[in-house]
Amino acid sequence: MSTPTVEDIQAFLPFALGHLLNPLEKLLEAIDCPEDFRGLQKVHSLLEYLFDTHPQKFCELFDIQQDIARQLLQLFSEVNEAFFQKYSNTTHAKGWMSRRPLYSLLFIFDDHQTPQAASALLFFLSHYYNNELKIITEDRTETSIRSFRLLYTDEVIDRRCFNSNSIDDTANQILQVREILMDQERENDEESGSSSRVGYLRDLEHFYRLNWKKRKSFSRISQRSIRSSYSRKKIERVIGSDNLFTASLLKRGLSKPLVDAGVSADEDYPELCIIKTEQPVLPKPQHELPDVSVIKDKAKINHKNRGISKCVSRSHNITPLARNLLQPNELSYLWHDRSSQRTTLINKIPRTDIQCILHLILITGRNLSDVCNLDVHHSTSNDNLGLIVTESELILKIAPKPTAKRGKHSDNPNLLKNQTVAAIALPQYFYNMFIKSNLRGHTKFSGKPSVNAYRIAIESYLKKLNQRHRCQISLKRIENYLINNLIATEKHDPVILEMLRGELSYYSRSPRHYAWYSETEINCRIQAIWLDMFNQMRGYDTDIQIPVLPELQLDLDTTGIGSQFTPTRAAIKDWVNHRLAHLKQFSAFDVVKNLSNLIDYHNQYTAYTLIMLVNASGYRAVYNPLPSFDLLLLRYHALCISDKDSSKTFSHTRVVVCPTVLKSQLLHYQRHTKTLANLISHLYPAQSTQLYAQTCDHQLIDLPHKNDRIEWFLTAKNSHANDGLFFLFIQDKDDPTFFRTKNSGPSYLSEYINLPLNFGRHYVRRYLQLSNVHQELVKFQLGHWVNGETPLEKCSSLSHKVAIEQLLPVLDEMLEELSWEAIPSLITRKRG
């Protein structure tokens, strides 16, 4: 900002002696004095106080001799009348804090005239003046001065932060105070406003150390704290395995912008964390117990752990021939035995009942006790959940638990509507079995006998069946058939099966959040699962008559089950068309000719590009998406994404398809940033430098070591600062002519679109499911995988190239349907 010149000073102080004018001009320059001398009286009184208390330091600071300084400060007794009103103004002007931060600091410190404040201020200022260039190039002037001002005037802050006269000492004291504050915050666990204090302390420490490298602590969350997020009581089977179990996840909270964006906290945690193996029930005799040294042998423990990890990976990669999967012959034995006319009792339970129960287990994938305890209703009232018996069919009514709180978007017209209850029609053959059996008329499916009685009866029933056919059907294999078959073939969406089973599984924890199906679709898909089963039987016995499945009236359902954040196609399309029309209305020269137009256009263009990125790639709603152009693998039509909102693990870094439209839009955006860097070179030098660096191919040339680059990536990933490619200009609250840059993030971007920002993932997943894409590819694009399924894992056999080839046309079509277009930025056009 400009400061008074010698001529200005002459007019202001008409009686000043000639030789004093130059030193005075330097002094006013150093304190950022405005040209109209507004508020200088207050600042002058502070300067006088500083000089009186610490004359030597004062003179060193402003680089003037002591006697001259004295004379300078005395000059102000006779001020030109014309200036007096401004000079004596005691109100802080708007915008000083951002435009004249030093002057503003001195102005405010006039109210703190104590020897301690004076010495702290002088120490601060001398450090500032000595290192001003570095502080300016890092664009930290304002934050440093603000943190000093707010911390000093905050009485809660320990004074030892300001008492020392050594820079190292001060920085260390600040660090200590900050740590104490953070500990207190952790203990009290309440909002006491100390989080902002911690932030200011951090800023000030950076300032004294002159090092603004973000030192985010990347210590992975300790195993212990990750484990604490899992339940101790709820255990579920690892799908596809025989005897591995895992603990379920407890519910976690998230910050508001993320909740509004439709992010679910569960996704941040690994699907599998705690694995339990079944222990032998009987204690071993004394002489067989191993020695303590053997039990504590690290090599053995590691070997055992690796074995378990391998088992888990293997469980998730079973083939249709896996031993724990019912084979076609076994299925058809079960099927044919249904039609035998024998009516013997097994363990006092009629055979028909046992068969009926086994078939319900087989077609719903539920376990015995669930099936036995299933509520049965004989009226069609709406209040009932469970099995509904009507005149001609059996209906299973389910109500899956919603995955997220909807909050802000609960009545957003742009989202697909939700219902909680859905009805699934069970096959006719099963209705006939049910009618013939003795199970009718009870309120529980199993009737009077206990679950255990059934268990024993089923065991002996299966034993006879096994003896007759020389096979090994067990209750457990029947119970797990559907889910095991599902992951062995990967033809169907696991979320659908989860609805049918009525039990939440870790396997579909993340997908569940994104799946939306109408009631008819759910029925269709469940029938496809059953049809698959019958087709498998056919593989053994070609004569099998595939039973007739309930006919569905295909209607256009407007409400469905599952994801609460799936946008309607029309909503996205409208938004895109609206934006396109808006962006195209400008002329090339109009958007660049002055700063305000440029800022406005940049924000709009960036928002368009970002929403396209979110929509096309299934990027999560994170801060600073796509931190570098280096992550664009254009040759392969791919994009490298690391979009978990926390830095807890790297396990969700993935390579996904970059659809053609998005690819060209990102290239346009790259040119846009290059040009923007040029245009703002004088107005936002720091941001311009950063964009220049980002757009050149060798930006990390100074970071030769791998670790340095990883560290850079971790700071850039999900960064809330302004170091990204997609920053937006945000208007300052106090000074509307002043714009700050901020990385885009859910809270800023949501101002541009009335949809939860995670909508892209919801839409992509639904679109891919509707296009009948292989489940593995859906997981590939969205990054929903469990241990052993990661495409970038060591033993993965997935070919990225093939996956991209298959997905690309589907996604291209999706974007075309939504009328997305790649538009070049007007600021890069010929400005005719």
């Binding site: 260039l133 660049v592 004088h682 660096a693």
Partner: protein, 189 residues
């Protein structure tokens, strides 16, 4: 105004020194920031997104060919002219074509100029390029830049009668003459 700039010009050669400073120490002056925020001359260029990698740039020569005139401000220097040079050098440093501490020769004014002189220096530089060297040929744009940079004095018909304008172009005191000078029709201006 006119006298001031004339006096400044007459004594300029004695009041300026050629020194070597690091590019990082050069900050654009507020006058440049204000004028650029109103009408950014970089946006008139056809090659606005031309990057360094396209040309083997002779950076030292560039810094002398269109030199930077600046004045001391605390421990830095505020640049008044040569904004295009500065842009190019900054981008070269950011993209690692030049070392971080690259330094060039600049003209430093011994005395801090008053704000009207600063404005005059910047305007003289920009309008000279705009009108005499014609780095932008589109007439509508030329008119836009002139209108944004020059203030119309009260009671005068257009910016071409303002004091500021007449300082630089005393002969071109009406829109017609300016149009004539640029060989365009008055309506375009």
């Amino acid at each position: 105004m006119k006298d001031e700039i004339m006096r400044f010009d007459a004594t300029l050669l004695d009041n300026v020194e050629l020194i070597r400073v690091s590019v990082k120490e050069l900050i654009s002056d507020d006058t440049i920031q204000d004028l650029f925020a109103q009408a950014n001359p970089l946006s008139g260029l056809r090659t606005s997104n031309e990057a360094n990698d396209k040309s083997a740039y002779l950076f030292n020569l560039l810094s002398l060919q269109s030199p930077i005139i600046c004045y001391r401000y605390r421990k830095q220097f505020k640049a008044l002219t040569g904004s295009f040079t500065l842009t190019r050098l900054r981008s070269a440093i950011a993209q690692h074509y030049l070392p971080d501490d690259f330094s060039i020769l600049v003209f430093a004014l011994k005395k801090k100029p008053s704000s009207s002189i600063k404005r005059a220096i910047v305007l003289f530089d920009l309008t000279n390029d705009l009108l005499s060297k014609c780095f932008i040929s589109d007439t509508k744009k030329i008119s836009f830049y002139l209108r944004s940079w020059f203030k119309k004095d009260e009671g005068k018909r257009s910016i071409y009668q303002s004091d500021e304008w007449l300082t630089f172009f005393p002969e071109l005191n009406s829109a017609e003459k300016v149009a004539n000078f640029l060989s365009i029709s008055k309506a375009d201006l």
